[in-house]
Symmetry: C2
Subunit: 208 residues, 2 copies
């Protein structure tokens, strides 16, 4: 059963349960999907209206971009739970002989890398949507401006939530080059985008 | 059809569509439901384990409190869309005679007040969950600490997103006493709780 096929209230109750996954990673991807959907909604409330004809081309681009990114976040909801479960599967591997121990250790390191790359990808996708959201600000139906603000909040939460999931996995990875690379890339994404998300929210808040 | 009965991916695509609702208000309530669910999950991953026996009573309280608050957020997802649609319904009321005009104006003011109170209630609920989350910090399964961090992010996004929806409606309400009251109460909730949400996130980030 795919998580995105669950009824919304079942997603919430499954998240709340003691099932090992979904957890914060899949929840972060859903924050991102909702944030992206709000950007798409604002574009949909702008296109095809004579009053906003000047924004038409830009809004069509926004729709095209958000469509792919929304799909990407939907996939990341599933993917994060898969890679998390894969880490759990390694724990069930035998560890009696030295060979088994070595194999298990290697499999665990590989699983942890996958479990890092998935939330890192969420961070990248959230950064892309923030750029699209910025493009829509001031060039879309002004009655829906609060929805752009809520979108920025969802994308910021997605990026920071994904970062916590990157960081927790990096803590157990032995490959120092991998750890430094993803730590640096993650910190750069945060440095480049959290302030943007905040300024987009504040711009909306000021207008209301 | 209730929004929380929609499959998760359908909730996302319905949000993205040009349907007038759900919008940022219902999305904010879902951020809150997910944030609350993560607090509940951490408690569920702590209770019943000998290793965490010292946290048992506290975690049982957390479970009890989050159960009601999760339900409340699920209701607010539906409620926000209902009050938004009610504003739209008033727009279809006749406005030919003076009597009709007066009736319509009165109905609109009432609908806008309802559409303010619902997101304001979300802010209150998010503040309550942050207190519960704080209670769980350092007194729950440490392997799930990142999930508490993601929970804090969802609750912060819920509170700020709800505030944008309070503010946009206050802008059209003529009853000055009502406007001042909700503006002051909303600003107080933000002042009291955003820094708490930030510090909870930072505490988690530092630990990873």
């Amino acid at each position: 059963m795919k998580l995105t096929e669950l009824k919304t209230k079942e997603f919430v109750s499954t998240l709340a349960s003691d099932a090992p996954a979904p957890g914060g990673g899949s929840a972060s991807a859903l924050f991102g999907a909702l944030g992206t959907a709000l950007v798409s909604m604002v574009a949909n409330l702008t296109t095809g209206k004579e009053k906003y004809a000047a924004y038409e081309d830009r809004m069509k681009e926004v729709l095209k971009e958000t469509e792919g990114l929304m799909e990407s976040f939907n996939n990341l909801i599933e993917k994060d739970t898969e890679v998390y479960n894969a880490v759990g599967d390694v724990l069930t591997m035998p560890k009696t002989t030295d060979e088994e121990k070595a194999k298990r250790k290697e499999a665990m390191q590989q699983a942890l890398k996958e479990a890092t790359i998935v939330p890192y990808t969420m961070m990248e996708e959230a950064a892309k949507v923030l750029v699209v959201l910025q493009k829509a600000m001031g060039h879309s139906n002004p009655n829906a401006v609060s929805d752009l603000g809520v979108g920025a909040l969802g994308l910021k939460a997605a990026m920071q939530g994904a970062w916590l999931n990157v960081k927790i996995n990096l803590g157990s990875i032995k490959d120092e080059a991998f750890v430094s690379e993803y730590r640096a890339k993650g910190e750069k994404l945060l440095a480049d985008n959290l302030a943007l998300a905040d300024s987009l929210y504040q711009e909306v808040e000021k207008q209301l």
